[in-house]
Subunit: 360 residues, 2 copies
Amino acid sequence: MIPVVPTRKRPTIRDVAREAGVSYATVSRVLNGREWVSPEAVRSVRDAIARTGYTANPHARSLATGRSGSIAFLLTEPQHLLFSDPNFSVLLRRVAQALSDREQTLILMIAATPEERSRTFNYLSGGHVDGVLLVSPHSGDPLLGHLVRAEVPIVACGRVLGYEQVISSVAADDRSGGRSAAEHLLAAGCRKIAMITGPQDTSGGVDRLQGYTDALIAHGLDIEPARIVHGDWSRESGAAAMRILLDRAPDLDAVFVASDSMAAATLPVLREAGRRVPDDVRVVGFDDTGLAETLDPTLSTVHHPLDRIAEEMVRLLTDVVAGRTPLSITVPTTLVLRESSPAGTDAARPDFRWIGPEPT
Amino acid sequence: MIPVVPTRKRPTIRDVAREAGVSYATVSRVLNGREWVSPEAVRSVRDAIARTGYTANPHARSLATGRSGSIAFLLTEPQHLLFSDPNFSVLLRRVAQALSDREQTLILMIAATPEERSRTFNYLSGGHVDGVLLVSPHSGDPLLGHLVRAEVPIVACGRVLGYEQVISSVAADDRSGGRSAAEHLLAAGCRKIAMITGPQDTSGGVDRLQGYTDALIAHGLDIEPARIVHGDWSRESGAAAMRILLDRAPDLDAVFVASDSMAAATLPVLREAGRRVPDDVRVVGFDDTGLAETLDPTLSTVHHPLDRIAEEMVRLLTDVVAGRTPLSITVPTTLVLRESSPAGTDAARPDFRWIGPEPT
DNA sequence: CACGAAGCTGTAACCGGTCACAGGACGATA
DNA sequence: TATCGTCCTGTGACCGGTTACAGCTTCGTG
């Protein structure tokens, strides 16, 4: 009897059991390697699996175990940032890798519009994923409060201001990073150092600024409000901020910019204004995710260790899912010097502890 | 045995049924809106759902229906391209949106290493997703053959050379795009037009080159092999290709580059070589995904309609999952003129049909 | 020799949905 | 009044796994 339509049913655990001459419970035990199973049984089950080409149905498994085996990577930034900011894609890549190593699947959710946000909330709070990785959270976001109330396991990239006690997070040591950038500029002789910050409702935005003020104050300098302009990570905001700075503080001799994207946008503005980089104005960015090397001049910047951050986020989320109390992890940053602010004599100065690689 | 996590029981369909005073089958009917249900029953079920905060368990649903409600977005490019090529992130964003609108979830899979590839194949062929969206497929990839043999529903972005009859695809009209770019350069008076192509095992790489040769031949010009260099979409390959061109064909008066990433990398090379853009050498790219506007000079380029491509891919995949025979869809491109090759007198010429927007 | 423990295996209940099918209520029609 | 069709609802089987529990060997020990 040849079936007209080749009904290609995928083999189930019971097919494997029949093939192996054992019960399906034994097959399950072999698959999960939990309990005592005789070596012969293990072998015949493995053979049967190989012969039938069996793979477990993840939905049946999730239904039985109550775990989904998947986590959500949640982006709440407006879409133009997703495109221009390499941080996202680098982090995404690393997280995907880390999850793949743990046999977990990565569900990408983008919640930019109000509709998407409410759909996203329903999905995440419905227990459809084991946990959520949150990127670049803004503390004012109501979605955060809802997720926390629904007790969804969350790990954020960057501390979530106001939620430090309830949301676990992994962040770069932004404050030290900002401080080392500013100290490098100070050591190079700059005294009128401006800063373009990130949004002040993100930990990265706040801490990098804090590091900058730390360094200036430690060197006995005043913080000049005119030299500080807030950006929103986007290129456009970087260019706009640079124009404001040139207007408000035309005597500046250096700019520390809280992201490479924004820093990249300052270069043409400076060039148009007739300022040479680094001779007239030194520029130091933050991130070092590939963009910095491709600019002209290449950009000195603080390396944002996204590899380790991704790794730690996944590890931490596993803990949080298992019921661990919230925890914040900080990962050290590294200053990388390139053409836009090369190493000067400062490398030899005893008061300057941090030393980056030689400029290329 | 105490469970590790205190599993807060979520309400099930039976809880809702009890609450509403109906059977669970009726609740299911209301949820799926399938069969005849009395208005009162609908109302009381909806009330009960609102009261209990019920959301359906997608795994139970998948198990019962045999559909997973999720599709995989599969990337097979080496990771450095994922970072530098904005095409990926733009497409990803759009696909995510289109899927979200259909209440489907997007599972991101990156198969760069051999391990990841085999894991990915097992996962996809195991029927864990309803279908696969494939980005930038290279025809030599063995993973493709395996997926086709396993009868996994696939829609690719770009035709898959050699698999046109078995893998559905959505592509830009790369050939017309390449042709309009070259025609624009010809109309601007250029006669020694070089080209940096994409990989010749991708339809985009082949077709954009084909469009270029179409235009040159139509104008009675010979195809000079010395003026054609193959790239691999990456910035590095663009810079390298430009150097080769300056060496092999130093008399060139224009370059058509098959991607904006590669085109971006040609600009510093040209500048270093003392060639002014566009005065000495005109440059036209391909993609128009944001990067082109941020370059200096801003880049004339062929707009790659990723919005529509994403939309069509999702639509087409739905059809393929439903059993539709393979189909290739082509979406038109548009030439966008900016500083690197502004519109000339050609716009007025009768033999030049295509006219882009005025340069900014 | 009786008995308990250890090692292994099978049965059955359960996870939370979908859906085929049986059947009840009720009005229309013969 | 009997019969039929339409509308609506409930029961129970099933999807493919996991796991509690019981049962069967086999062996060691008092």
